[in-house]
Subunit: 154 residues, 2 copies
DNA sequence: GAAAGAGGTCACGAGGTCAG
DNA sequence: CTGACCTCGTGACCTCTTTC
Protein backbone atom coordinates (compact mmCIF):
# COMPACT_ATOMS: atom_id res chain seq x y z
CA UNK A 1 0.00 0.00 0.00
CA UNK A 2 2.42 2.48 1.23
CA UNK A 3 5.67 3.63 -0.10
CA UNK A 4 7.39 0.33 -0.43
CA UNK A 5 4.64 -1.17 -2.47
CA UNK A 6 4.80 1.75 -4.77
CA UNK A 7 8.50 1.40 -4.68
CA UNK A 8 8.23 -2.02 -6.08
CA UNK A 9 5.38 -1.30 -8.38
CA UNK A 10 6.87 1.34 -10.50
CA UNK A 11 10.22 -0.34 -10.64
CA UNK A 12 11.14 -2.10 -13.82
CA UNK A 13 13.16 -5.20 -14.16
CA UNK A 14 16.72 -4.11 -14.73
CA UNK A 15 17.22 -6.96 -17.10
CA UNK A 16 14.21 -7.12 -19.35
CA UNK A 17 12.19 -4.03 -18.47
CA UNK A 18 9.12 -5.84 -17.27
CA UNK A 19 7.48 -4.78 -14.04
CA UNK A 20 9.77 -5.79 -11.24
CA UNK A 21 8.63 -8.35 -8.70
CA UNK A 22 11.11 -7.26 -6.11
CA UNK A 23 14.73 -6.90 -5.23
CA UNK A 24 16.49 -10.10 -6.16
CA UNK A 25 20.18 -10.99 -6.03
CA UNK A 26 21.08 -7.35 -5.83
CA UNK A 27 18.81 -5.75 -8.40
CA UNK A 28 15.19 -5.09 -9.09
CA UNK A 29 14.05 -7.84 -11.38
CA UNK A 30 10.95 -9.66 -12.47
CA UNK A 31 10.11 -13.18 -11.40
CA UNK A 32 11.41 -14.63 -14.59
CA UNK A 33 14.80 -13.05 -14.43
CA UNK A 34 15.04 -13.90 -10.79
CA UNK A 35 14.48 -17.56 -11.49
CA UNK A 36 16.68 -17.46 -14.51
CA UNK A 37 19.57 -16.04 -12.59
CA UNK A 38 19.08 -18.43 -9.73
CA UNK A 39 19.14 -21.35 -12.09
CA UNK A 40 21.76 -20.25 -14.51
CA UNK A 41 24.38 -18.58 -12.47
CA UNK A 42 25.03 -21.71 -10.51
CA UNK A 43 26.35 -23.40 -13.57
CA UNK A 44 28.15 -20.33 -14.80
CA UNK A 45 27.94 -18.67 -18.13
CA UNK A 46 30.28 -21.13 -19.73
CA UNK A 47 27.52 -23.66 -19.96
CA UNK A 48 25.44 -21.29 -22.03
CA UNK A 49 27.67 -21.16 -25.03
CA UNK A 50 28.08 -18.12 -27.14
CA UNK A 51 25.59 -15.62 -28.38
CA UNK A 52 24.88 -16.08 -32.02
CA UNK A 53 24.60 -12.39 -32.39
CA UNK A 54 27.96 -11.46 -30.99
CA UNK A 55 26.49 -10.50 -27.64
CA UNK A 56 24.37 -7.69 -28.95
CA UNK A 57 20.91 -9.06 -28.39
CA UNK A 58 18.36 -6.67 -26.99
CA UNK A 59 16.81 -8.18 -23.91
CA UNK A 60 13.16 -7.34 -23.49
CA UNK A 61 10.17 -9.06 -22.05
CA UNK A 62 9.50 -10.72 -25.36
CA UNK A 63 13.01 -11.52 -26.36
CA UNK A 64 14.51 -12.49 -23.07
CA UNK A 65 14.16 -16.19 -23.68
CA UNK A 66 15.79 -16.05 -27.06
CA UNK A 67 19.39 -15.61 -25.96
CA UNK A 68 20.39 -16.83 -22.56
CA UNK A 69 23.90 -15.57 -22.86
CA UNK A 70 22.78 -12.01 -23.35
CA UNK A 71 20.21 -12.34 -20.64
CA UNK A 72 22.82 -13.43 -18.17
CA UNK A 73 25.07 -10.62 -19.31
CA UNK A 74 22.30 -8.17 -18.57
CA UNK A 75 21.80 -9.73 -15.18
CA UNK A 76 25.42 -9.28 -14.30
CA UNK A 77 25.46 -5.76 -15.65
CA UNK A 78 22.48 -4.99 -13.47
CA UNK A 79 24.58 -5.98 -10.50
CA UNK A 80 23.11 -9.35 -9.77
CA UNK A 81 25.32 -11.81 -8.01
CA UNK A 82 25.18 -14.47 -5.39
CA UNK A 83 27.14 -12.32 -3.07
CA UNK A 84 24.51 -9.63 -3.31
CA UNK A 85 21.76 -11.99 -2.39
CA UNK A 86 20.36 -11.90 1.03
CA UNK A 87 17.39 -13.23 2.89
CA UNK A 88 14.90 -11.03 4.58
CA UNK A 89 13.50 -7.66 3.90
CA UNK A 90 15.52 -4.67 2.99
CA UNK A 91 15.24 -1.51 4.92
CA UNK A 92 13.34 1.28 3.35
CA UNK A 93 16.24 3.61 3.36
CA UNK A 94 18.22 1.08 1.45
CA UNK A 95 15.75 0.99 -1.34
CA UNK A 96 15.22 4.67 -1.40
CA UNK A 97 18.89 5.25 -1.49
CA UNK A 98 19.23 2.67 -4.19
CA UNK A 99 16.57 4.30 -6.25
CA UNK A 100 17.89 7.76 -5.79
CA UNK A 101 21.20 6.65 -7.08
CA UNK A 102 19.41 5.06 -9.91
CA UNK A 103 21.85 2.27 -9.66
CA UNK A 104 22.46 -0.87 -7.77
CA UNK A 105 24.49 0.98 -5.27
CA UNK A 106 24.26 0.53 -1.58
CA UNK A 107 26.85 2.24 0.53
CA UNK A 108 26.71 -0.61 2.94
CA UNK A 109 27.43 -3.10 0.24
CA UNK A 110 30.16 -1.26 -1.43
CA UNK A 111 32.82 -3.66 -0.52
CA UNK A 112 30.81 -6.30 -2.18
CA UNK A 113 30.49 -4.04 -5.09
CA UNK A 114 33.80 -4.49 -6.74
CA UNK A 115 33.51 -8.14 -6.14
CA UNK A 116 30.52 -7.84 -8.35
CA UNK A 117 32.38 -6.45 -11.25
CA UNK A 118 35.07 -8.99 -10.87
CA UNK A 119 32.52 -11.63 -10.99
CA UNK A 120 30.80 -10.14 -13.94
CA UNK A 121 33.88 -9.80 -16.04
CA UNK A 122 35.19 -13.13 -15.05
CA UNK A 123 32.06 -14.94 -15.95
CA UNK A 124 31.65 -13.01 -19.11
CA UNK A 125 35.18 -13.64 -20.13
CA UNK A 126 34.56 -17.31 -20.08
CA UNK A 127 31.46 -17.05 -22.13
CA UNK A 128 31.93 -14.47 -24.81
CA UNK A 129 34.03 -11.49 -25.56
CA UNK A 130 35.83 -9.85 -22.73
CA UNK A 131 34.77 -6.35 -23.53
CA UNK A 132 31.72 -6.54 -21.33
CA UNK A 133 29.89 -4.15 -23.52
CA UNK A 134 28.48 -1.62 -21.20
CA UNK A 135 25.32 0.30 -21.52
CA UNK A 136 22.28 -1.11 -23.06
CA UNK A 137 23.62 -3.64 -25.44
CA UNK A 138 21.06 -1.87 -27.47
CA UNK A 139 21.60 -1.76 -31.10
CA UNK A 140 18.69 -2.49 -33.24
CA UNK A 141 19.85 -5.99 -33.63
CA UNK A 142 17.15 -8.31 -32.61
CA UNK A 143 18.21 -11.13 -34.71
CA UNK A 144 19.42 -13.53 -32.19
CA UNK A 145 17.50 -16.25 -33.80
CA UNK A 146 19.13 -15.41 -36.99
CA UNK A 147 16.87 -17.36 -39.25
CA UNK A 148 13.54 -16.57 -37.79
CA UNK A 149 11.40 -14.50 -40.00
CA UNK A 150 9.65 -12.35 -37.54
CA UNK A 151 11.88 -10.54 -35.24
CA UNK A 152 10.60 -9.57 -31.94
CA UNK A 153 9.41 -6.10 -32.37
CA UNK A 154 8.95 -3.74 -29.56
CA UNK B 1 -6.18 -29.51 -12.22
CA UNK B 2 -9.33 -30.04 -14.08
CA UNK B 3 -9.83 -26.37 -14.64
CA UNK B 4 -7.00 -25.83 -17.00
CA UNK B 5 -7.59 -29.15 -18.58
CA UNK B 6 -11.04 -27.97 -19.36
CA UNK B 7 -9.60 -24.73 -20.44
CA UNK B 8 -7.57 -26.43 -23.02
CA UNK B 9 -10.10 -29.03 -23.90
CA UNK B 10 -12.87 -26.80 -24.95
CA UNK B 11 -10.50 -24.58 -26.77
CA UNK B 12 -10.21 -25.15 -30.42
CA UNK B 13 -7.34 -24.71 -32.77
CA UNK B 14 -7.52 -21.26 -34.26
CA UNK B 15 -6.12 -22.56 -37.48
CA UNK B 16 -7.93 -25.77 -38.29
CA UNK B 17 -10.63 -26.03 -35.66
CA UNK B 18 -9.42 -29.21 -34.07
CA UNK B 19 -9.22 -29.48 -30.31
CA UNK B 20 -6.41 -27.27 -29.15
CA UNK B 21 -3.39 -28.78 -27.49
CA UNK B 22 -2.40 -25.54 -25.86
CA UNK B 23 -1.32 -22.00 -26.36
CA UNK B 24 1.42 -22.03 -28.96
CA UNK B 25 3.27 -19.12 -30.53
CA UNK B 26 0.56 -16.77 -29.41
CA UNK B 27 -2.61 -18.67 -30.23
CA UNK B 28 -4.51 -21.73 -29.19
CA UNK B 29 -3.59 -24.40 -31.67
CA UNK B 30 -3.44 -28.14 -32.03
CA UNK B 31 -0.21 -30.11 -32.01
CA UNK B 32 -0.14 -30.32 -35.74
CA UNK B 33 -0.46 -26.63 -36.39
CA UNK B 34 2.05 -25.94 -33.68
CA UNK B 35 4.62 -28.15 -35.31
CA UNK B 36 3.74 -26.87 -38.72
CA UNK B 37 4.25 -23.30 -37.70
CA UNK B 38 7.45 -24.08 -35.89
CA UNK B 39 8.82 -25.79 -38.95
CA UNK B 40 7.48 -23.56 -41.62
CA UNK B 41 7.70 -20.10 -40.30
CA UNK B 42 11.42 -20.37 -39.78
CA UNK B 43 11.91 -20.65 -43.48
CA UNK B 44 9.41 -17.94 -44.17
CA UNK B 45 6.33 -18.01 -46.26
CA UNK B 46 8.30 -17.44 -49.40
CA UNK B 47 9.45 -21.01 -49.48
CA UNK B 48 5.91 -22.26 -49.73
CA UNK B 49 5.08 -20.80 -53.07
CA UNK B 50 1.66 -19.68 -54.02
CA UNK B 51 -1.72 -21.10 -53.32
CA UNK B 52 -3.18 -22.69 -56.39
CA UNK B 53 -6.57 -21.61 -55.28
CA UNK B 54 -5.83 -17.95 -55.02
CA UNK B 55 -5.46 -18.12 -51.28
CA UNK B 56 -9.04 -19.12 -50.65
CA UNK B 57 -8.57 -22.59 -49.31
CA UNK B 58 -10.65 -23.48 -46.32
CA UNK B 59 -8.44 -24.86 -43.60
CA UNK B 60 -9.99 -27.58 -41.51
CA UNK B 61 -8.70 -30.60 -39.74
CA UNK B 62 -9.14 -32.66 -42.85
CA UNK B 63 -7.86 -30.18 -45.35
CA UNK B 64 -5.08 -28.54 -43.44
CA UNK B 65 -2.34 -30.51 -45.11
CA UNK B 66 -3.59 -29.74 -48.57
CA UNK B 67 -2.37 -26.17 -48.89
CA UNK B 68 0.53 -25.06 -46.80
CA UNK B 69 0.31 -21.50 -47.93
CA UNK B 70 -3.22 -21.09 -46.70
CA UNK B 71 -2.41 -22.93 -43.52
CA UNK B 72 0.40 -20.56 -42.78
CA UNK B 73 -1.84 -17.65 -43.62
CA UNK B 74 -4.34 -18.89 -41.09
CA UNK B 75 -1.59 -19.23 -38.54
CA UNK B 76 -0.53 -15.66 -39.01
CA UNK B 77 -4.08 -14.42 -38.95
CA UNK B 78 -4.57 -16.28 -35.71
CA UNK B 79 -1.79 -14.18 -34.28
CA UNK B 80 0.97 -16.72 -34.28
CA UNK B 81 4.49 -15.44 -34.31
CA UNK B 82 7.75 -16.17 -32.62
CA UNK B 83 7.59 -12.95 -30.74
CA UNK B 84 4.25 -13.63 -29.17
CA UNK B 85 5.25 -16.95 -27.77
CA UNK B 86 5.04 -17.34 -24.07
CA UNK B 87 6.95 -19.62 -21.79
CA UNK B 88 6.03 -20.92 -18.44
CA UNK B 89 2.90 -21.57 -16.58
CA UNK B 90 -0.14 -19.43 -16.84
CA UNK B 91 -1.00 -16.98 -14.16
CA UNK B 92 -4.01 -17.64 -12.01
CA UNK B 93 -5.37 -14.36 -13.17
CA UNK B 94 -5.39 -15.69 -16.67
CA UNK B 95 -7.10 -18.90 -15.73
CA UNK B 96 -9.74 -17.36 -13.56
CA UNK B 97 -10.52 -14.57 -15.89
CA UNK B 98 -10.49 -16.84 -18.86
CA UNK B 99 -12.75 -19.38 -17.33
CA UNK B 100 -15.15 -16.79 -16.08
CA UNK B 101 -15.50 -15.38 -19.50
CA UNK B 102 -16.34 -18.78 -20.83
CA UNK B 103 -15.17 -17.71 -24.19
CA UNK B 104 -12.22 -18.37 -26.33
CA UNK B 105 -11.38 -14.75 -26.01
CA UNK B 106 -8.57 -13.71 -23.84
CA UNK B 107 -8.83 -10.06 -23.01
CA UNK B 108 -5.12 -9.85 -22.93
CA UNK B 109 -4.77 -11.26 -26.39
CA UNK B 110 -7.17 -8.79 -27.80
CA UNK B 111 -4.52 -6.27 -28.26
CA UNK B 112 -2.54 -8.85 -30.10
CA UNK B 113 -5.60 -9.40 -32.12
CA UNK B 114 -5.36 -6.38 -34.24
CA UNK B 115 -1.65 -6.59 -34.31
CA UNK B 116 -2.40 -9.84 -35.94
CA UNK B 117 -3.82 -8.33 -38.99
CA UNK B 118 -0.82 -6.16 -39.49
CA UNK B 119 1.61 -8.91 -39.21
CA UNK B 120 -0.33 -11.32 -41.28
CA UNK B 121 -0.67 -9.01 -44.18
CA UNK B 122 2.85 -7.78 -43.90
CA UNK B 123 4.43 -11.17 -43.89
CA UNK B 124 2.19 -12.47 -46.53
CA UNK B 125 2.85 -9.51 -48.68
CA UNK B 126 6.48 -10.37 -48.71
CA UNK B 127 5.86 -13.92 -49.63
CA UNK B 128 3.36 -13.82 -52.40
CA UNK B 129 1.12 -11.35 -54.06
CA UNK B 130 -1.27 -9.13 -52.24
CA UNK B 131 -4.36 -11.01 -53.16
CA UNK B 132 -3.81 -13.47 -50.44
CA UNK B 133 -5.23 -11.32 -47.74
CA UNK B 134 -8.72 -11.76 -48.98
CA UNK B 135 -9.44 -15.17 -47.73
CA UNK B 136 -12.60 -16.96 -47.08
CA UNK B 137 -11.22 -18.32 -43.93
CA UNK B 138 -13.72 -16.53 -41.84
CA UNK B 139 -12.13 -13.71 -40.01
CA UNK B 140 -11.83 -10.73 -42.16
CA UNK B 141 -10.82 -8.79 -39.16
CA UNK B 142 -10.67 -5.25 -40.23
CA UNK B 143 -10.23 -3.61 -36.98
CA UNK B 144 -7.08 -1.93 -36.10
CA UNK B 145 -5.22 0.17 -33.72
CA UNK B 146 -6.50 0.76 -30.36
CA UNK B 147 -4.54 1.48 -27.27
CA UNK B 148 -2.10 -1.24 -26.63
CA UNK B 149 -1.52 -0.44 -23.06
CA UNK B 150 -1.37 -3.78 -21.46
CA UNK B 151 -2.39 -4.72 -18.06
CA UNK B 152 -1.25 -7.92 -19.56
CA UNK B 153 1.48 -9.41 -17.58
CA UNK B 154 3.04 -12.41 -18.98
C1' DG C 1 4.63 -10.68 13.92
C1' DA C 2 4.97 -8.71 9.50
C1' DA C 3 7.50 -8.00 5.43
C1' DA C 4 10.23 -9.61 1.79
C1' DG C 5 13.93 -12.13 -0.57
C1' DA C 6 15.81 -17.01 -1.66
C1' DG C 7 14.79 -21.19 -3.31
C1' DG C 8 11.61 -24.89 -4.51
C1' DT C 9 7.62 -26.62 -7.15
C1' DC C 10 5.40 -27.73 -11.12
C1' DA C 11 2.13 -26.17 -14.88
C1' DC C 12 3.24 -25.36 -19.66
C1' DG C 13 5.25 -24.00 -23.95
C1' DA C 14 9.29 -24.48 -27.40
C1' DG C 15 11.71 -27.49 -29.93
C1' DG C 16 13.46 -32.03 -31.12
C1' DT C 17 12.54 -36.88 -32.54
C1' DC C 18 10.86 -40.37 -35.39
C1' DA C 19 7.38 -43.72 -36.96
C1' DG C 20 3.99 -43.44 -40.37
C1' DC D 1 6.10 -33.79 -44.52
C1' DT D 2 3.12 -34.68 -40.61
C1' DG D 3 1.95 -34.84 -35.88
C1' DA D 4 2.08 -37.57 -31.43
C1' DC D 5 5.29 -37.84 -27.95
C1' DC D 6 9.30 -36.50 -25.29
C1' DT D 7 12.68 -33.49 -23.00
C1' DC D 8 13.99 -29.30 -21.15
C1' DG D 9 13.71 -24.40 -19.94
C1' DT D 10 10.59 -20.93 -18.17
C1' DG D 11 8.18 -18.39 -14.81
C1' DA D 12 3.92 -17.87 -11.60
C1' DC D 13 3.22 -19.36 -6.99
C1' DC D 14 4.42 -21.24 -2.74
C1' DT D 15 7.14 -22.12 1.38
C1' DC D 16 11.04 -21.21 4.13
C1' DT D 17 14.35 -18.08 6.09
C1' DT D 18 15.86 -13.81 7.59
C1' DT D 19 15.42 -9.06 8.80
C1' DC D 20 12.85 -5.08 10.36
Amino acid sequence: MSSQDDLKTWQRCRVCGEAAAGFHFGAFTCEGCKSFFGRTHVNGAASLGECRNGGRCVVTRKTRTACKTCRLRRCLQAGMSRSSSRYGRRSNWFKIHYLQQGQEKDPRVQEVDHKRHDEASRVLATSSDSTTTTGTCGTDANKCRSNSNDKARE
